[in-house]
């Protein structure tokens, strides 16, 4: 066995001996605790609370006046729920840019392609209908910056 070579920096092949020390220990630990507490705030703040599921209401005057068998959206309910945004997007481009303003639904019935005049005619309760799901999933479509909702008229009618 070879004799370890000693130099002025310590023994060759060995780690230099450094005193292990945790500087600013209390400050760092406290900081970590505060940090973890802050980023998990949304989780533990909502512990035990449940957010009510969206509950879009269909009790507008226009819908209620309809006969039971006519009480349908322009397309099937599941389709509308899943794809109304694509449909409105397509409507917007076709109406404004190509002047195609008439929509023929799968059932063959014709509708004017207009958010403000067709959709909102029945769904005149934006805050009870549109906003219910949009708020739940945290989306904020900017339709309403320009398109008028009919809620003012609805309130006056009541």
């Amino acid at each position: 066995m070879k004799e370890p070579v000693k130099s002025e920096f310590g023994t060759v092949g060995e780690k230099p001996k450094v005193e292990k020390k945790f500087y600013n220990r209390n400050l760092i630990l406290a900081g970590i605790i505060v940090f973890v507490a802050l980023i998990t705030y949304p989780i533990w703040n909502l512990q035990g609370k449940s957010v009510p599921p969206p509950d879009p209401k269909l009790d507008t005057p226009v819908i209620q006046k309809m006969a039971e068998q006519d009480r349908k959206c322009i397309e099937d309910k599941t389709y509308m729920r899943n794809y109304h945004m694509q449909m409105l997007d397509e409507w917007r481009d076709q109406v404004v840019r190509n002047g195609n303003r008439e929509y023929t639904s799968l059932s063959g019935k014709k509708y004017t392609a207009s958010l403000q005049n067709t959709c909102l005619e029945c769904h005149s309760n934006k805050s009870q209908f549109c906003d219910q799901c949009h708020n739940y999933v945290g989306v904020a479509p900017y339709c309403w910056g320009c398109h008028l909702t009919r809620e003012k008229k609805l309130a006056e009618a009541k």
């Binding site: 397509e90 076709q94 840019r97 002047g99 403000q116 008028l148 009919r150």
Partner: protein, 270 residues
């Protein structure tokens, strides 16, 4: 039995190419489900080239006011003179700076500058011309729009797509007629909003006359024409039998700033 590396790559390559190509070819050729279902309204008024003739002999002050009122009402154009809530009152300077107009009145020398007459008849000097977007055949606003928010339709109407407007105001700088207005503030408090069939605009977009595209599409004449008692006429410039052509044939007409080459399509009989 084995397959050589070269054969394997060849087969794999061709099948990928076929797979991708067939899919995109199918997608390109098949019409979109929704696209195919949207069609123009059969009752819509159409023309190859829309144009307007303003007969200043028939247009008096009250009719002009009525035209302006009708247009601004059906398009929800804000009236800064008259807020819904008196608390929103703005000072006179801002009223001028923020003005939004689709159709308005102007004196001859402001409407037709550079015509170089030494003296004009007293009658014309006193007239208030009814001005609006000229729906130019060579629209400078369309050339400069970076987002194609404004464009010329095939029937000549210079349209605005508010969904695309980013509010850069290049079009306002380009338009030699002052036909475009910018929404410096939210216009809603100044719109009575009686007409809920047409949208308003929001802060930060440019707006102008759209030749009542939404009314033409339903088979109605533009709002201003309807209330003008025959002073305003719209029609197809490309149709020799149209009312517009008849008026142009039988009367001498002038147009605004033709020297700029924008080829405006609103004609004035003086």
């Amino acid at each position: 039995m084995s397959i050589s590396r070269r054969d394997f790559l060849r087969i794999a390559g061709f099948s990928t190419l076929f797979g991708l190509g067939a899919k995109s070819a199918f997608e390109m050729l098949a019409p979109g489900e929704l696209e195919a279902k949207l069609t123009p309204n059969p009752k819509a008024l159409s023309a190859q080239r829309w144009a307007m003739v303003v007969d200043m002999r028939k247009l008096n002050e009250q009719t002009a006011e009525k035209c302006i009122e009708a247009c601004h009402r059906v398009h929800n154009v804000p009236d800064f003179e008259d807020p819904i809530d008196p608390k929103d009152k703005i000072d006179p300077e801002e009223k001028i700076r923020w003005e939004v107009k689709w159709i308005w009145k102007e004196k001859y020398e402001h409407a037709f500058p550079g015509q170089a007459e030494v003296a004009i008849p007293e009658k014309i000097h006193k007239l208030n011309f009814l001005l609006l977007c000229n729906h130019c055949d060579n629209p400078p606003c369309v050339r400069v729009c970076p987002t194609k928010a404004t464009w010329k339709r095939e029937d000549g109407v210079v349209m605005m797509d508010q969904h695309r407007c980013i509010g850069c105001r290049y079009c306002m700088a380009a338009c030699p007629y002052g036909a475009r207005s910018f929404n410096w503030r939210d216009p809603r408090p100044f719109i009575k909003g009686d007409d809920e069939s047409y949208p308003t605009r929001e802060i930060g977009v440019v707006e102008k006359c759209n030749f009542c595209a939404e009314r033409l599409a339903k088979g109605q004449l533009p709002a201003c024409v309807e209330v003008s008692k025959g002073a305003l006429t719209v029609g197809d410039l490309n149709d020799a039998k149209s009312k517009v052509r008849e008026l142009l044939r039988t009367n001498f007409t002038i147009r605004r700033k033709t020297q700029l080459g924008s080829n405006p399509q609103v004609y004035y009989i003086v």
